[in-house]
């Protein structure tokens, strides 16, 4: 179980994340929504310890993750895979090498510097790529792949870590609707099949509604909504995004299939009001 206790992060005078306290049970898929600058990325980066909290603590299964240092910290980072908006792969290396980077924490530095990865790892990497449907691209350089394929390579790298938590920071924000759907379907499938905990930053409501078990809404660093996707009414959404009456969900939707249901959902919501 992941537990955040009054986690705060300041950058100079700005407070990016303000006393966030949430608990995520094992095996849940959580969507974090909010407009740009709401502190979603900062929150995820603190959980992975890419940045440190200014105040507060982060616990995972009883151990205080926010107090770890050195080798113990890197070991936590292995257990807590991160997927980025811009994929953050090494573009000039081939797909399999990038996936093998998921094993860096387990292997010796010298061996990895000379790309001496064990044969089983290479086979496992290709199996994971096959599971995500991109095994054909295994020997290609990452930079020759499309955005959606690159994001799936990033997911494969995350899976190679055999993580207990997967953090996804706007995984579909740089992708076209078609690829966005493939990537979100992949994440959901991993969640369903492996039972891994997934915390996913999203900036579109319909995606959060469609894929997540639970939605956390952030505004100016504060959690303003925490509940089931069904409870996320248009009024609540307007509050999260700080929008007025003119806010319409369907106009910001980037998903192909959910356009229609999201629209009908809104009409239902409006009928209820």
């Amino acid at each position: 179980m992941l537990r955040l206790v009054d986690v705060t992060r300041r950058f100079g005078k700005n407070t990016a994340v303000d006393s966030v306290a949430i608990e995520v049970p094992q095996g849940q898929m959580v969507g974090v929504i909010g407009r740009s600058g709401a502190g979603k990325s900062t929150l995820l980066r603190m959980i992975n310890r890419l940045i440190d909290p200014s105040e507060g603590s982060i616990f995972f299964d009883g151990s205080e993750v926010s107090a770890l240092r050195g080798a113990a910290l890197r070991s936590w980072q292995r257990d807590c895979a991160m997927i980025f908006q811009q994929f953050n792969l090494v573009p000039r290396l081939d797909v399999v090498s990038n996936v093998l980077h998921g094993t860096l924490n387990r292997r010796s530095t010298v061996a990895t510097m000379f790309s001496m990865f064990p044969r089983e790892d290479i086979e496992q990497a290709i199996d994971i790529l096959d599971r995500l449907g991109i095994a054909d691209h295994a020997p290609k350089r990452v930079e020759t792949l499309s955005g959606g394929q690159q994001q799936r390579v990033a997911i494969a790298r995350a899976l190679m870590q055999d993580p207990r938590v997967i953090l996804a920071d706007e995984p579909i924000a740089s992708l076209d609707p078609m690829n966005a759907q493939v990537v979100m379907d992949t994440l959901r499938r991993i969640h369903d099949e492996d039972g891994r905990m997934i915390v996913c930053n999203l900036h579109t409501l319909d995606t959060a509604r469609r894929y997540c078990d639970r939605v956390v809404g952030m505004r100016d660093g504060v959690v303003v909504f925490d509940g089931a996707p069904e409870d996320l009414t248009t009024a609540v959404a307007r509050d999260i995004y700080g929008a007025d009456e003119s806010f319409s969900e369907s106009s910001t939707s980037t998903s192909i299939e959910t356009l229609e249901p999201a629209y009908s959902f809104m009409r239902e919501a409006e009928a209820a009001i």
Binding site: S115, I122, I126, D130, A135, D136, A138, P139
Partner: protein, 288 residues
């Protein structure tokens, strides 16, 4: 890699086999390269050692004898240090002046040459090769050779030093500037061409704002190198701190305290230039 089109376990096995074969080949190549590298390194060192006049291993223990003697004497005459520092300031300023003027002239020439030899910006695209070779020649000639020739013709003093450093600077900076130009965006230049601007206007208003921070950064680093270069040229009679250093550092003249003062001045100058250059670079980048 393989001809098989779509997924499935049999295809995955083919992919695995293909990738592993690739990997083995790459490993073999890097292994061979590594061995060749070490063999060459060992062989080269052996050759160099055998051609060394004194013998490398015998001399190794005496490497620090001279610096030790210099520092010991400088400490012994420590009281004279402030006076020595003050005494050599004018010579240091002369050296800095030579470096500054030659960097400025060299940088102006380098900007023009680099723009003329960058594809997309060049005024005469057919002459790109000519300007590139010109910069190669300027870069290839060592400052000290040009300075020696000029001193022979013009007599000793700061002017030959300045000209020779400026020539080398134009070549060296031109190369770095043209690399900066390669990364500059062509779109603003196209925009200015669309309003009917001349080549000069396009370069001045479209390219320079993009490349100025990097130009400045390279030019300031060059300035630092040129301070050292102009100090060296003092050794061949071009004036400045180098000339003083040559006199002071000659073995057995008993003026190591003066040599130490000159080293300290040089060090302080380089530190000052480094600080100044990072300050100006940040300000220039910040305003963009």
């Amino acid at each position: 890699m393989t001809d098989v089109s779509l997924g499935g376990t049999r295809e995955t096995d083919t992919i695995k086999a293909g990738y592993l074969a690739d990997m083995r080949r790459k490993r073999m190549y890097s292994g061979i390269l590594l061995v060749v590298f070490f063999v060459l390194l060992a062989a080269g060192f052996g050759l160099a050692d055998s051609r060394n006049a004194g013998g490398f291993w015998d001399g190794l223990s005496r490497i620090f004898d001279f610096p030790a003697e210099l520092i010991a004497e400088a400490i012994a005459k420590g009281a004279a240090l402030p006076a020595n520092l003050v005494r050599y300031v004018p010579a240091m300023i002369e050296t800095i002046n030579i470096a500054a003027v030659s960097t400025l002239l060299g940088a102006i020439a380098a900007s023009v040459l680099s723009l003329l030899s960058t594809r997309g910006f060049a005024r005469w695209p057919r002459l790109i090769g000519l300007f590139r070779r010109l910069m190669d020649v300027m870069r290839a000639l060592p400052e000290i050779v040009i300075a020696l020739v000029l001193i022979f013709v013009l007599g000793g003093g700061p002017v030959p030093a300045m000209i020779s450093i400026a020539i080398h600077t134009a070549g060296a900076l031109g190369k770095q500037f043209s690399e900066v130009n390669e990364n500059a965006d062509l779109k603003p230049v196209e925009g200015l061409a669309s309003v009917g601007a001349t080549w000069m206007q396009r370069m001045w208003l479209g390219v320079l704002p993009q490349v100025a921070p990097n130009y400045l950064s390279y030019a300031l680093m060059r300035f630092e190198i040129n301070v050292r270069a102009s100090a060296i040229l003092g050794f061949v009679g071009a004036g400045g701190i180098g000339e003083e250093l040559r006199v002071a550092i000659s073995w057995g003249t008993g003026r190591y305290d003066a040599a130490a003062a000159i080293f300290i001045l040089l060090f302080l100058t380089i530190v000052a230039i480094d600080q100044l250059s990072s300050h100006f670079r940040h300000r220039l980048v910040g305003t963009h």
